[in-house]
Point group: C2
Chain length 472, copies 2
Amino acid sequence: MPLPDNDDANRKPLPAAFVAALADRFGARFTTSHGIRAHHGHDESHFPDALPDGVVFPHDTVEVVEIVKLCAAHDVPVIPYGAGSSLEGHILAIRGGISIDFSEMNKLLAVRVEDMDAMVQPGLTRKQLNAELHGTGLFFPIDPGADASLGGMAATRASGTNAVRYGTMRENVLGLTAVMADGRVIRTGGRARKSSAGYDLTRLLVGSEGTLGIITELTVRLHPLPEAVSSAVCAFADIDSAVRTVIQTIQLGVPVARIELVDALTVSAINRYSKTTLREAPMLFFEFHGSPASVDEQAQTVQALAHDHGGMDFEWASRPEDRSRLWAARHDVYFASLNLRPGSRGITSDVCVPISRLAECVAGTRDDIAASGFIAPIVGHVGDGNFHTIILVDPDNADEIARAEALNHRIVERALALGGTCTGEHGIGIGKQEFLVAEHGAAAVDTMRLIKQALDPRNLFNPGKVIPMTEA
Amino acid sequence: MPLPDNDDANRKPLPAAFVAALADRFGARFTTSHGIRAHHGHDESHFPDALPDGVVFPHDTVEVVEIVKLCAAHDVPVIPYGAGSSLEGHILAIRGGISIDFSEMNKLLAVRVEDMDAMVQPGLTRKQLNAELHGTGLFFPIDPGADASLGGMAATRASGTNAVRYGTMRENVLGLTAVMADGRVIRTGGRARKSSAGYDLTRLLVGSEGTLGIITELTVRLHPLPEAVSSAVCAFADIDSAVRTVIQTIQLGVPVARIELVDALTVSAINRYSKTTLREAPMLFFEFHGSPASVDEQAQTVQALAHDHGGMDFEWASRPEDRSRLWAARHDVYFASLNLRPGSRGITSDVCVPISRLAECVAGTRDDIAASGFIAPIVGHVGDGNFHTIILVDPDNADEIARAEALNHRIVERALALGGTCTGEHGIGIGKQEFLVAEHGAAAVDTMRLIKQALDPRNLFNPGKVIPMTEA
């Protein structure tokens, strides 16, 4: 793992002419104050802080071009910053440089109801977008836990609980405006639902974590608000029975909107945290979207499948207040988990495997956790084969963090051996670069590196992230 | 437009040592016979033939690596060849070189029923795959008109009538094995349903038309065969009313599997060709997939929407023989159209626009056609905003072809002005390169070119296709 370099004393200071130019151009929207830099020097990961040398708050694409050109002229790294909610150190300024904060670039530029798309600036968060869509009959379904910015979600190829039905940012970004390392602006994709016109630069930039281009506008796909929604929960004797139920649900083509798994330890954590009395067994949480008749039919189909696999305490709800009650337990998982060990911080794994290997992967992970002595609840977007392990660590205990990382490595290695990926939705950042070769092979990673070198030959765009590069 | 160079007399012959090496290694599976070369020198487009200098029939990835390395050593272009059904000259050897024919590399390598995916060699066709899937309860939905090879479909980012429900090759290729220009083999993507691990090389190669890498294996997504299927047809007073019905169907979230538009001229052609007595008015063809109850509900919802827009003669069918009868008319469109002018060949446009602009785009196209004097039926995958114009030309009349191309240009320019794409599913090939800049802008096309130069610096992979390059 590349070690974050946060030694301000050893860092080359920003060139005075560069600072003067940014200050002159952006006034109070450019700062080198320690407080603002410190705010931009950490995300939700456990990696040590790495402060940028300055922070700038642009308002539009043209201003981002000016920043990028100034940085290029002075050899200064550029790090895009959305909501700071990334989990793999994406926004840490490990080589110094300027953090571009998009919080003042958060306008909804257009909603096209008939085409079910919206054009947004990258700083708009997913919740802000959905609030703005109120009354249109449309919504944006991608829901990582945090209220992340849409630019950041595109940059990390984020997803969440709805991906089994609505896809990830890969499927829901129709086009992008991006500033490239030479300061040119490209517009990718388009508003047509499909196209065979040239290389898919949209999908290349989605998931590139700010290393190939800086996203300054996005066109995202919207979806009709379902006419009816219902939810259900069901407990199982073991994880395998729960996962069998999931596999059959997907195979039957039931268009389920969400299927979430929590393990028995997590239910126990929820009971302690939320004063509930749920059966302390693996549970599935379902949500169904559609017409009233379709939603009933989906729920009945899934209930029958769950019954075939020994499902217990099946409960469903279609009134909003009842649905909220059922899902409250799922939503509380992260804080309920941290509460299992007060003062702890979570090191979160994010593996995703073919669904046929999910039961094996979860069971092996469970055994690894037991052997490690850590408390580590498991919760997953199982319709996609994706699950998280929240390894609870004392953030001040380096030895413990090292052991937790070793556990995390074992979890990832198993997922890779089962044909999976080291990250379903969080990204590579600085924490998972070593897995990139294990997952894709040296030739594929070399291909990624050739692309990075071609598009950012001086390695100034979020350097040190995603692809291990030979330093310039 | 780069002019195809098919002047054998002016073409540099293949180096003797190269021919000897290929013959030695591949025996009868390598040929320079004129008959075989001629077969590989044309596709379904109207472009002049351009024969490769030789054709080789590999059996696996290792053999493709050998071919690519030999070609690289002797500076010989390489053109992947699937079923020869491309519509934009993709497989024409306009710079000479070796055609790699994948017809003997057409094995189904694995079907994973639980994970609903299949690994295939690129020469397997979509119909072959679906035949092999018989009995699994799964199917592969992407259906371009031709029985194309899956490798070719990935290379052109193909789709077809089911894309409105099941997506295109972009959404249905999970991972690839590809031989790169340096002879290295990369494996992209994976079998997990989602991943945030590094740059999306899968989506970069899908749609790259053999210019970045040669696909030697694909993992594709399969879908459950619907429990029930029903179809419907409905006539409308005008195209706008039909398109309004489509927009509302999509906006309501009806999970329709197919929505196809044919214009009145096309219905007239069908009536003449198939001896039917359909009302000669714009028509929509629908197909619904799901549970029996869901399919009924979808059809009823759509019938009500159609009625609101003056839909006439609404007819639906759920028995297979009745569905076949309804869809026969749609399936016959291409030949029925050619029959409007015996001896003609079709120049096919493939524009795709935001659905809100579809009615305007179709109406303007209709007017352009009327002004041109050409017979040119319109048929479209309107749920995606995609439609084709089949301009009927005398293939021996160069002036007429030039006028048809001018008409095609006007059709594309309108689609671009309406926020659309020059090609929804056919690709760029040699015929649409001039539109690439108009659609994406010079900076985006330069970015594509940088990627091409980085991955194929000697421009040996399908040279002259997709991106206009400065010649090496």
